[in-house]
Amino acid sequence: MKSREQEYKEIFIAEALEYYDALNRLISELEKKPQDDRVLAEIFRMLHNLKANAKAIGYLQISDVSHKLETAFGLIRNKELSFSDEVVGVLFDGIDLLGELIKNIDSERQVEIDPVLIRNLDIVVDSLSDSTVELAKVQKFSTSRNLTLSDLIYIQVKKLDHLMNLVGELIIDRDRILSLSRELDNDELKVVSSHLYRITEDLQYSVMDARLVSIGTLFNKFPRVVRDISTAEKKEVNLDLSGQDIQIDRNILQIMTDSLLHLVRNAITHGIEKPVQRSKVGKPKVGSLQLSARSDRESVIITLTDDGRGIDVGKVKRAAVDRHLVPADVADGLPDSEVYSFLFEPGFSLAKEVTEFSGRGVGLDVVKNAIDSIGGRIRIESEKGKGTSFILQLPTSIAVKGALLFEIDNIFYAIPLIHTDSVVALDKDELHEVGEVLVADIKGETVTVVYLDELLNMEESQMRLGDKTRLKGQVQNIIIVTYNNRKLGLIVDKLYRQQDIVVKPLSKPLDSIDLYGGVTLLGTGKVCLVLDVPAITKYFVNKR
């Protein structure tokens, strides 16, 4: 994992080398125009920064030499020292020394500073150009000057975003060409396109890789946050971090920042009890909070676990019934996992007190929306009295998603794999009409099943989702999707393959159709709508 020290060091070196190059350029300019105030100010500013940065990070030789040079240029600027040939020589030597010191920060070799050079610098600085003092010749570091550029560059995230977009476009064209080569059955074209395929794949992963940061960059902010919140709440909390070196897309981490902060606040404010209460129930006085990350194929799983009071399922059920989210009799029979889902409903909160840190009207629905927006998932595990876990499954990268392709009424659709649970084929007789919907027993679980053709293509007034007679054929292909702990079966005409797709947002005026999360172009050139599983589930829950 890249520690903060390592990060600071890299930044320091990259910036110092920039200053070194600029100083060489500027001092040459100054030689031609010795009284150019602008150039002098620039040199002064850079030496000044170099000195301050080196002092901050602890490279004292660099800060010393910069300081001496800064003083010398200060004198020149104030016209207390003339920019004579001799002085110029000493200053060039000084800047060379700086360069040498900067380049050797990472090497084993200790740079030997020629004492004569230091003496010369001191003479220039102290003696105010007393020409009677002899400036001695300084031994050069190397006879041949090596030109070196920094190994590290800084790049704006938006440039990487642009690059990722271009890769997305390229992948779409690549798939098209690959498909054409098969259609045309042209061997030469097939060879070229399969080569193109490998290269674009490599390119895609390289660009994705360039955008990865370690999760530690976010996690390492939490010890301080936890300390502050627990102090304010008069609680004692011990935070354990793990998996800081797991890598994730920078933008995804950015989007998750507020959500994680919110969950951590919640855990301390509402989860972990005050020390006295904890002692009473036989728990250690100090509460425990664990924030961990791990990789799971294409996803990163972030888990936040507290050993607090846990979620009171009965309380959540009552609140859900009070808000008419579910009838009382249905609520009684719901499994815990489905009950926890209510916590993600807009405005749903069990908290009575509002404190500085928690409960500012921001509910878990905001967290949920943030996770939905990047195509991730969140679920809760909790045991009353024992504690609560929030488990976040996030994609490692935004632009390219694994998806399952299927067909309805001769039109292609895709569902992001992150939301698909399984695929089953059921006989029509195994589907039962219950009220306005169809249900089926799938692996011992009663799952609501929706005929997608009906949902997507039928006028709302004529939609009859609970009518089995609308189904085509005897065997039904069903994709089981999950969202917010709710399983939903989607009946499709034909299943195709899994494929990486690049999802493009729908543009106006289509962007208001909320059953679709976007659109992608298949290799065949066919447009393929990407279903928005969260939206469909929500729509369906509203129907019910």
Binding site: R4, E7, Y8, I11, F12, A14, E15, E42, F44, R45, H48, N49, K51, A52, N53, K55, A56, I57, Y154, K221, R224, V225, D228
Partner: protein, 120 residues
Amino acid sequence: MKRILIVDDSFYMRTMLKNMLTDAGYEIVGEAPNGQTALELAKETNPDLITLDVILPDNTGLDVLKGIKAEQPDMKIVIVSAVGQEVIVNEALEYGALSYIVKPFSEERVLEVVKKALEE
């Protein structure tokens, strides 16, 4: 969450300040590497506080200070300077800067000065 704008021409310094301040729970609304950007961002983001380096590439920090104060007289500004710039710091304090931090700074000093300035 209090919102802070960092003005410093050194990326290294901005990174250190940003880390220290975000760790302490402040929100960094922007980073300006020069005077022009500082003036624009001050107006655009209207932060609760600005940390201002006194030596900048295009303007001197003092010009930036005056510029911001002319538009946003109540803006809280803390000077970040190095040893040997006492004259400029004193002038900055006269022009309405609240306090100053001397480079190289300790995290404690930064947080103390920022906290105090925000309370004023």
